[in-house]
């Protein structure tokens, strides 16, 4: 079994971005000590039931985990190292926002053990940053990147593109500027409208119109071309890395390995007693903390997945990866032969159409297939 990945969720932000549907909350005051204690309790809880499994990665996500105190991050890392069996090359990522509040803490996070920083830059265009409701300027983002590059051995940042009115040349220019800032990893997401966000309302009213279909596809294709020009390859639909610099933590998700998720709203997939169990924590931070206090964990659902569900999940994630799926690994992990999990006739048609192919014994989505992966998966999956 591949090593375990550990996800730790910090649910607080300085402000709610209008596009964001992550489990993030804005609070006047935060009982940091209480939340850290609860996170440590959940870590102990997972450790107790999983045993000293090899640990490959830790990811502090959010919300805005860069708002945590570096000492607390250090304590959680120390706990994880003690409870699990960390690999020598343990990858520890922290998501950070490039506001002034956080920028000053980067060195302390590094000292706490974080060895990979993921910076939420989102855009280098001031107008776009304003539209996205970000509380930092392009200048601040660039400054944060510069200092992060000096402090952390590995660095990634996020951009959101396919924004309303964004033209192909404008995006190419913005992306080229971003690539020049020389990270070895980039997450390039297309803006999506998520239900329940401020953008969803504006979108429903017709105030926000996104590039779709061919237009969005052209932006996507340009993104791949620009990134490749800078030596970053799309190892997953929206993640680009210099070979070797891929995020090990995210690969654990896409390869459908085991990951433990602690903190409010965190999801996990854990092999327990020979089954794969989907775990889910209560989303509301205070209720979650209260439950941890009472039960030792804030889990609200622990659902064993059937081979059918496992198959669907692994297919869903695996075909997003450039490396695709290996049938033997698929059958081992899901308990279902790949040939049974997919519709043979659709596969044949998809191969003929140049959407899917077998490469080195693995099933992979070709570029044309990636452009229509969701619809393709719906047809392909049994």
């Amino acid at each position: 079994m591949p090593p375990l990945a550990l996800y730790i969720h910090w649910p607080f932000c300085l402000a709610k971005c209008p596009y964001c549907d992550f489990n993030s909350h804005v609070r006047e005051r935060i009982d940091a000590a209480g939340f850290i204690a609860a996170l440590r309790a959940e870590l102990a809880f997972e450790g107790a039931r999983l045993g000293r499994r090899p640990l490959g990665s830790i990811f502090f996500g959010g919300g805005t985990p860069s708002l945590m105190a570096p000492a607390d991050v250090a304590a959680l890392i120390a706990d994880a190292r003690r409870v699990f069996a960390p690999r020598d090359d343990l990858e520890i990522t922290l998501e950070a926002n490039p506001t002034s509040v956080e920028a000053g803490k980067l060195a302390d996070f590094r000292a706490a053990g974080v060895n990979r920083l993921s910076l939420g830059v989102q855009s280098l265009d001031p107008a776009a940053l304003a539209f996205l409701g970000r509380r930092h300027s392009a200048g601040q983002a660039i400054a944060a990147l510069e200092s992060a590059r000096r402090i952390f051995p590995r660095l990634s940042f996020d951009l959101i593109y396919a924004r309303p009115g964004q033209t192909l040349p404008a995006w190419r220019a913005e992306l080229r500027a971003a690539l020049a800032l020389a990270a070895d990893h980039l997450s390039l997401y297309q803006l999506t409208i998520e239900p329940g966000t401020a953008f969803a309302t504006a979108h429903a009213r017709g105030e926000i119109v996104l590039p779709e279909g061919e237009e969005a596809a052209a932006l996507y294709e340009a993104t791949g071309a620009e990134a490749a020009g800078a030596g970053l390859l799309p190892y997953e639909v929206s993640n680009y890395a210099r070979p070797g610099a891929e995020s090990r933590h995210n690969l654990a998700y896409w390869r459908y390995g085991d990951y433990a998720g602690i903190g409010p709203g965190a999801h996990g997939r854990l092999t327990l007693r020979g089954e794969i169990v989907a775990t889910r924590r209560h989303r509301a931070p205070e209720i979650w903390a209260e439950r941890v206090g009472r039960f030792g964990h804030g889990s609200v659902a622990e659902t064993p997945l059937s081979p059918l569900e496992r198959g669907r999940e692994m297919l869903l994630m695996g075909l997003r990866l450039a490396e695709g799926l290996d049938p033997a690994g698929f059958a081992r992990r899901t308990g279902r032969p790949l040939a049974e999990a997919i519709d043979a006739e659709i596969l044949r048609q998809a191969e003929a159409a140049g959407y899917l192919a077998w490469e080195g014994g693995r099933l992979v989505a070709l570029p044309a297939g990636r452009l229509r992966l969701d619809a393709l998966l719906a047809a392909l999956c049994r």
Partner: protein, 615 residues
């Protein structure tokens, strides 16, 4: 039916029904939908104490769930009310509730034939509607005495004087004695009861003559078997008697006779003028033809009562299970439905597109919808229905004549001498401002105007229309062009030769039998094009290009192409929440389950019906 709760257990004989003829009144209530028929019936039941308050639920007579929901009556029902009139005598009033919809016109005529009079209920704030007219004419044909009742006079918008004049102008009934009531508040219900006794004639009949009883309706009861609703004309019906159905010749022995009060109450026998029920160990309603005459086997009547007509379905469509494994369940369910509804027909059919199913015949579109709904609701069946078709009459060059129920079965043009199609005579009432649109619609549907008159500011248009043009979406279109203000009624009006062609729909060059349809040659191209366009929207993009064509014989008259799967990138951050994405996928798959694989193309089941909707 649900009201049957006593039957076998009740002390027997519980009571005699030998009411003198002069103390009986048999009557129906005719009304346009929503004019207050059910409310009035409830008030009458209440006022005569036929049910205790506790038993009194709103609208006692509509019993089937679907009937309740749609506010329509499908089966004839009856209730016997005991009323002590102002003259001091006690009368038995038999209220016959009739189906109100044109699909069941024949059933209505049999119910009316069981009565001597009718209450014509008209909403005083609305006035006369098309359905009122159709029913009132039937009542007049049945020789009824008719008492006009103006309902809803409690409403500020009520205009009893205007409606009175309208009834006189349009129907020619004297309204000087019309009874003004509010069924809702109960105002003047006594006036209605008195009018029934004093103005409607008592039945006539000879208790000593050979038995003649009209079979009004029948239904299947899980405990009693088939229950038959009868009206005795001459002679008597009694337990142990051997009866004969004059149309079918079937002989049965009566097990029980009784009346509805409105619950079933056993009675020793039923004499002339009585309305009641019998049971006779009959297994299926198909043996009990509505309108048949029941006589005594030992001493049969010389001639049956007039007007018997076997029921003939006018609209047919294919019903297929969504899940092929449900075929047997569908067969069983259809059988169970037919136990209680002899007017509905079915025969096995196979379709290349849809697999194994049944071709089903109905009295009309409403009947079709009701059966489909019952199959879904009561039997939990998920069905695909093909577009409804009327019954064409094919005359072959060799002189053979045959009915065609399924467009897919249409023979090759070279062996057809001529084709006839059924026509209807439609009565449409509509406010003046929508008349233009309605006439346009009728003309568009090959209608021939028979009459156009005005009733106040409402126009009454009588049109002859091919049933084929009405069967599909005429009601919907009529509603929309008149903003819901038009009312519509029709009767069958014979067959006529017509220049009809079959249009096949081809998906990737393969004909989809379930989408074939028949249309007049003049409309073929427009309809073909409209359907191709519709299918283009209804069939989701697939991995490859799809060609959709409409053709007459080998000649393609319309063509559309559906492009391959569109580009739809989802480069988004997912994190560890895979369940959400999986559920999304499962929802997409759920949608796909409702598709039919056709060759390589998947067609959503909704397309089979929706494709043919025009306009």
């Amino acid at each position: 039916m649900i009201l049957a709760d006593s039957g076998a257990e009740s002390p027997y004989p519980s009571r005699m029904t030998d009411t003198a003829l002069r103390h009986i009144r048999n009557f129906a209530i005719i009304a346009h939908i929503d004019h207050g028929k059910s409310t009035l019936a409830d008030r009458l039941i209440e006022a005569t104490g036929a049910l205790s308050n506790r038993e009194m639920t709103e609208q006692v007579l509509d019993t089937m769930e679907i009937e309740r929901e749609r506010g329509i009556t499908i089966k004839a029902q009856t209730v016997r009310l005991s009323y002590k009139a102002r003259d001091g005598e006690t009368y038995a009033l038999n209220l016959m509730d009739t189906p109100g919809h044109v699909d069941f016109a024949y059933e209505v005529s049999r119910s009316l034939a069981a009565c001597e009079g009718s209450l014509l209920v008209v909403d005083a704030s609305q006035g006369v509607e098309a359905q009122t007219l159709a029913n009132v004419y039937q009542a007049i044909e049945a020789g009824h005495e008719i008492v006009p009742v103006l309902n809803k006079i409690d409403l500020p918008a009520a205009e009893p004087e205007r409606v009175r004049r309208q009834i006189e102008d349009v129907i020619g009934l004297d309204t000087s004695d019309a009874v003004l009531i509010s069924a809702k508040t109960g105002h003047n219900i006594a006036g209605v009861l008195e009018a029934i006794v004093t103005r409607l004639p008592p039945p006539q009949g000879d208790p000593e003559a050979p038995l003649k009883a009209l079979l009004v309706d029948s239904w299947y009861d899980a405990y009693l078997g088939v229950v038959i609703l009868v009206r005795v004309k001459d002679g008597r019906l009694a337990r142990g008697q051997k009866i004969r159905m004059m149309a079918t010749g079937a002989v049965h022995v009566i097990e029980q006779t009784g009346v509805f009060s409105p619950r079933m109450v056993a009675a020793a026998d039923l004499g002339p003028g009585e309305i009641g029920y019998i049971t006779a160990g009959i297994k299926t309603v198909a043996d009990c033809r509505i309108g048949d005459t029941i006589t005594e086997d030992r001493r049969p009547a010389e001639a049956p009562l007039p007007g018997f007509k076997p029921s003939v379905p006018v609209v047919w469509c294919g019903l297929y299970p969504v899940d092929a494994d449900d075929f047997e369940k569908l067969r069983e369910s259809l059988g169970r439905l037919r136990l209680n509804d002899a007017s509905f027909h079915y025969e096995p059919e196979t379709s290349a597109a849809l697999g194994f199913g049944f071709r089903c015949g109905f009295l009309g579109l409403l009947h079709l919808e009701i059966v489909q709904e019952r199959l879904a609701r009561e039997f939990g069946l998920d069905l695909i229905a093909t577009a409804p078709s009327v019954v064409y009459r094919i005359h072959r060059t060799n002189g053979q004549v045959a009915d065609l129920h399924n467009p897919a079965d249409m023979p090759d043009g070279s062996v057809i001498d001529k084709i006839e199609e059924p026509w209807i005579k439609a009565t449409i009432m509509v406010p003046d401002e929508y008349l233009g649109a309605v006439l346009h619609l009728c003309n568009e549907r090959r209608g021939q105007q028979v009459d156009l008159t005005y009733v106040g500011n409402r126009a009454m248009a009588v049109y002859r229309l091919p049933l084929n043009e009405v069967v599909f979406d005429f009601y919907d279109r009529l509603k929309s062009v008149s903003r819901g203000y038009a009312s519509f009624d029709y009767q069958m009006d014979g067959y006529a030769e017509s220049d009809l062609v079959r249009i096949s729909i081809l998906v990737n060059a393969e004909p989809v039998d379930a989408l074939a349809f028949i249309a007049h040659r003049s409309a073929a191209e427009t309809r073909g094009r409209a359907i191709c366009q519709r299918l283009k929207d209804l069939i989701p993009k697939q991995l490859f290009k799809i060609a959709i064509q409409a053709a007459i014989g080998g000649r393609v008259i319309a063509r559309e192409t559906i492009g391959a799967l569109a580009k739809d990138v989802t480069a988004k951050c997912y994190g560890g929440d895979i369940s959400r994405k999986r559920k999304l996928l499962e929802k997409q798959k759920e949608g796909k389950k409702r598709m039919r694989q056709f060759g390589k193309v998947e067609i959503p089941q909704s397309a089979f019906l929706a494709a043919l909707k025009t306009g």
